[in-house]
């Protein structure tokens, strides 16, 4: 028999109150830990999508929009660049590019964006640093109208190697088309007659690219050229590469990386090139890592409000502990009086109640850590499903330890008032028959 046994018996006798108080603390701790772990993990997830590129060029209005649309597929780019502009950027300025990969967005299948690009996208661009693309099945595209799909797309849409489908102009349209009633006049524009064949399925990369599909530029140009030609002559049945004109060869972005020395992530020329491109009136140049950092700097203000709110919830849970123990004192006075008769001193009684309070804090904190472990994975799964962001939340041991210790301390402080009541419990009065 130890003090701990007495505490456990006391808690067991007020099981409902104990459990609800522990749950209150657990929710507060889980909320706090989830916010702390997700904050870091989310930024990492966003940074991951930019991979090993140094710069991103588009014709969009702002660098942030450039990054959001061309790396995170958050919307359809509104402005396009010509192939001439691309060639000038990639080859005409003697800039020391390690890669300059053209990309084009604007079409989709079942709500998943289709990015038209070149083979270099898979050979030179890395979805995150020092990690190459990996195929789960099949191969990368080699010919026109071949498509490689991201892991999320394959899973969500049930796509397999050899499947064929027509793609849709725009993104929202294709999301609304499948399985839903569409209002007359709002039917999506499907690029019929040019079926794409799935030749590869990618391994997950933990980036937004997992919810995209990738094909070659020429196919994309052909299907849009076909639309252009049919506007002039609806009887045209097919279009080939031979029918392409300069106006058809459009792209919406260029992934750029400046050549670096072996083992180096950045180049001395990078900033100079960035400044030169920024001066171009027709181009928007963005440093993806910088833009993501900026975005998170904005978000961090909201983040801190959430953290403060979680702190308030934690303090409220401390008050809940105090109330639970305070209310229990009425039914515990007799037990305390008996303990005093048996030889338990006032200070020991004070310690028993304080320890009980701290124990509730400890149990709540541990349950909170467990709840957070589940919670962050639920949130991560939601973010993966909704945003295509693969977040790998980690519970920082130091933060977890600090939060658990703080919770115990807070609970112990909350136990001071009930412990003082226990200390002052009049023995004789409470020994009399009830």
């Amino acid at each position: 028999m130890t003090d701990f046994t007495i505490i456990l018996r006391s808690m067991a006798r007020r099981m409902f109150s104990t459990v609800t108080t522990v749950v209150t603390v657990a929710v507060a701790v889980a909320l706090m830990l989830t916010l702390l772990s997700m904050r870091h993990a989310s930024e990492q997830a966003f940074q991951r999508g930019a991979g090993n590129m140094h710069m991103l060029v588009s014709a969009e209005d702002s660098p942030l929009l450039t990054v959001l649309n061309n790396v995170f597929y958050s919307g359809v780019p509104r402005r396009a660049m010509t192939w001439e502009q691309y060639e000038d950027l990639a080859f005409g300025r003697r800039m020391p590019w390690e890669f300059a990969i053209p990309t084009q967005l604007g079409d989709s299948h079942r709500g998943f964006p289709v990015m038209a690009t070149t083979e270099e996208f898979f050979t030179k661009f890395q979805p995150h640093r020092d990690t190459q693309w990996q195929l789960a099945e099949g191969r990368f595209f080699e010919d026109s109208f071949e498509v490689v799909v991201g892991s999320t797309v394959a899973r969500a849409a049930g796509i397999r190697i050899g499947d064929q489908f027509d793609i849709t102009h725009g993104i929202e349209q294709s999301r609304g088309w499948f399985g839903r009633e569409v209002e007359p006049g709002m039917e999506p524009h499907v690029h019929y007659g040019f079926p794409y064949t799935v030749v590869g399925i990618l391994e997950p990369t933990g980036s937004a690219h997992d919810r995209a599909m990738f094909t070659d530029l020429e196919s994309s140009w052909i299907i849009h050229a076909h639309d252009r030609r049919r506007e002039g002559n609806p009887s045209i049945r097919t279009t080939t590469a031979a029918d392409l004109i300069e106006e058809d060869r459009l792209i919406t972005g260029v992934y750029l990386r400046v050549a670096t020395r072996a083992g180096r992530g950045i180049s001395a020329a990078q900033q100079q090139i960035y400044n030169t491109l920024r001066a171009e009136p027709t181009l928007t140049v963005a440093d993806p890592h910088f833009e993501i950092g900026k975005l998170f700097a904005i978000v961090s203000d909201i983040d801190q409000i959430f953290l403060a709110l979680a702190g308030v919830v934690l303090v409220s849970s401390g008050i809940a502990i105090m109330l639970a123990l305070y209310n229990s004192m009425e039914m515990r006075r007799r037990q305390i009086a008996i303990l005093r008769v048996l030889g338990c001193g006032r200070l020991r009684v004070f310690g028993l109640v304080l320890t009980e309070s701290a124990l509730i804090g400890l149990l709540g904190a541990l349950a909170g850590v467990a709840l957070c472990f589940v919670g962050v994975h639920v949130v991560a799964e939601l973010m993966r499903a909704r945003l295509g962001l693969v977040i790998e939340p980690t519970l920082e041991p130091i933060w977890t330890f600090v939060l658990v210790m703080s919770t115990i301390l807070l609970a112990a402080v909350a136990g001071l008032v009930p412990a003082a009541l226990a200390y002052r419990t009049p023995v004789v009065k409470n020994l009399r028959p009830l």
Binding site: M1, R9, I338, V341, C344
Partner: protein, 225 residues
Amino acid sequence: MTAPALLIRDLKFRYGASSSASWVIDLPALELSRGEQMLLTGQSGGGKSTLLYLISGLMEPNEGSISVDGQDMHAISGEKRDLYRGRKIGMIFQTFNLLEGFTAVENVLTALMFSDIPSSEHQKRAETLLQSLDINQPNKPVEQMSVGQQQRVAVARAVACGPVLVLADEPTASLDPDNAVAAMDLIQQTCEIQGAALLCTSHDPALADRFSRREALRTAQPTAS
């Protein structure tokens, strides 16, 4: 020379701070030797329970001294007095005052927690004691036990630490005559076996014959002021 189990000298007690109030207890002297058993009678509300609380150090006297096993209870204070009480005095109440939610053995073990008996011996000592008092289900919660069983657990708890003095406050008041006899047999025999002095308070005249030493706690006189 061995100190008496209980030695009271010029004990006076009254409720409140007013000097005009009557003494509730005015006891010039009382001595109880080791192993001696005594019945303290008196009318209901006559201060019998108060005297037991004064002896156990749970209440403070206005005047006089109370020594248990040679130690003046009121010369020590705080934690020391609580521990001394736990080790030297066993208390049995009319309503048993067992710890609810605890098993029979846990009730006895709780008393042993505050004793100077090595903790490695607690479990065996508690189980042996309960077994000797015919408690065959020591791990049963006390609230699930019969009144008679609860009484036995209360007695076991009172003598668990090997006290020199057992204070029994109206131990038969809530029992029917048959159970009262059994309870008193148990209390007196256990104290005898354990070598503890017994001071039993009761206003039940049926108990008188059980004790060779009987004293009546007289109603206190108004103070002269």
